[in-house]
Amino acid sequence: MAKKKESVFEDSINRLQEISDFLEKDGIELEESIKLYEEGIELVKICNRTLKDAELKVTDLKKQLEQSIK
């Protein structure tokens, strides 16, 4: 299966999780931790914005396929 393109939100949430784990580590470099922290704050903003504007999307696959054939 080809590597699919993830959505911005999932990317951000996953990255945020990653940053959290990094910051929890002992012996992290100070400069790196500051960079990660700043990146994290930026991601929090992106995620909050995405969630605020989110609306459930529903696709009818069979209908879509029929239309693509026509």
């Binding site: 299966m1 080809a2 699919k4 393109k5 993830e6 959505s7 939100f9 999932e10 949430i13 996953n14 945020l16 959290s20 910051l23 929890e24 992290i28 100070l30 931790s33 500051i34 922290y37 994290g40 704050i41 929090v44 995620c47 909050n48 995405t50 969630l51 989110a54 609306e55 459930l56 999307k57 529903v58 696709t59 009818d60 696959l61 069979k62 396929l65």
Partner: protein
């Protein structure tokens, strides 16, 4: 009189007419054996009891209306007509409809299939795929007009509205339902961007749920490269699909809850992040401060300081030495000065004595007042020209 002589075909034709006229609509109960589903779509099997057996066929198109796949050993009730196959001189039942002889038959079939698939390892925990935490697209295999789909939609909208639901609609009960479920699972697998699939439907009778107990559905679930959550009926309903799926949910709503993270949890994680990690950062900084303090107080770090201190002490020593020698010189000069001063002073006294004054000395002390003299004790009188002793 000679008996009538029939050709084989004539006899067979007569038999055929007799049998097909008299048994054009029969209902028979019996146990299936030698069941074969031919690639052409036709079914061939034998129906038997302890003393007899009869061959049966059920043609493609007709067998579409059977909601379950027959299994050997299953007791069924069939309706059909008797036909004769002249080429072999045999008779068989052309089956029109088929149903299990009782609910127990379905349960028995369920147990048989469950045991068979378990032996093949289809339920093994090692084959279960993990369900992704943050899905982008959730595939759904259910009926588009079913309550289950509505339930799943509202749960997704409430819990995780950033997700996309991709519905591959299909029949979930009755004839052909199992084929359609398999088709939908395969269709979603071809999309290659689906993170997880929910296969399910709402509650119903054992017959209603039967499609999810079919072997082809179980195998399609097992073969899916996308993780599958099975959600059939209510909490108490267990199907073969539940056992083979990567995760079993008690209901379709519960399946959607299992497939999606809670947006409120994410929001609280997001709101906690800045504070929580500000503290974390402060801790990291404090750790570094401690390391700096420790380094400063280490022996290596004190070394230059010690050198400076030693130099300062040397400097002090030199200063003292210079100061001492200077003071000695000064003292010498002071001594000389007082000596000279004495000389000057004494020359001053000489001049007074010359005028005729006398200095009285008793016990080497100058007596300048009469009250200071000790009566009856010898004293000296110093004149300009000499000193005499007066005895007491």
């Amino acid at each position: 009189m000679e008996q009538d002589i029939f050709s084989v075909s004539e006899l067979t034709g007569l038999i055929r007419k007799t049998l097909e006229t008299n048994f054009s609509d029969v209902t028979i109960i019996g146990e299936i054996s030698n069941f074969k589903a031919h690639v052409s779509g036709h079914w061939y099997f034998t129906l038997k009891d302890s003393n007899a057996q009869v061959s049966c066929t059920m043609w493609r198109g007709v067998n579409n209306y059977v909601f379950f796949t027959p299994q050997d050993g299953m007791k069924i009730i069939i309706t059909g007509k008797l036909t004769v196959y002249p080429l072999r001189g045999s008779y068989q039942i052309d089956v029109r409809s088929m149903k299990p002889a009782g609910i127990g038959e379905l349960q028995a079939a369920f147990e048989r299939l469950k045991q068979k698939l378990a032996l093949e390892g289809l339920f093994n925990e090692v084959n279960k795929k993990p369900i992704p935490k943050f899905p982008v697209k959730i595939g759904i295999v259910t009926a588009i007009d079913g309550a289950a789909f509505q339930d799943m939609k509202s749960i997704a909208a409430r819990r995780y509205p950033v997700v996309e639901l991709v519905l591959a609609s299909c029949k979930v009960q009755g004839e052909k339902a199992s084929d359609e479920i398999v088709e939908s699972i395969n269709l979603l697998n071809k999309q290659n961007d689906i993170d997880v699939i929910i296969v399910g439907r709402g509650g119903g009778s054992l017959e209603d749920l039967w499609a999810f107990n079919e072997e082809i559905v179980a195998r399609a679930i097992f073969d899916s490269s996308i993780p599958i959550i099975s959600a059939v009926g209510h909490e108490i309903d267990f199907t073969i699909s539940d056992f083979v799926a990567d995760l079993r949910a008690p209901t379709p709503s519960a399946a959607m809850e299992l497939a999606t993270p809670d947006v409120n949890e994410i929001l609280s994680f997001l709101s906690e992040f800045p504070n929580y990690f500000r503290e974390k950062m402060l801790k990291i900084i404090l750790n570094y401060r401690t390391i700096i303090d420790q380094s400063v107080s280490s022996y290596g770090f004190r070394l230059p300081q010690n050198i400076i201190k030693n130099k300062m002490q040397n400097l002090d020593n030199i200063y003292y030495r210079i100061q001492n020698s200077f003071e000695n010189k000064l003292n010498q000069l002071k001594n000389r000065l007082s000596l000279l001063n004495n000389i000057v002073e004494s020359s001053n006294i000489d001049r007074i004595l010359k005028k005729g004054f006398v200095i009285i000395k008793q016990e080497d002390k100058f007596i300048t007042r009469s009250k200071n003299i000790i009566q009856g004790k010898s004293f000296n009188m110093k004149f300009y020209d000499g000193e005499i002793k007066i005895n007491g």
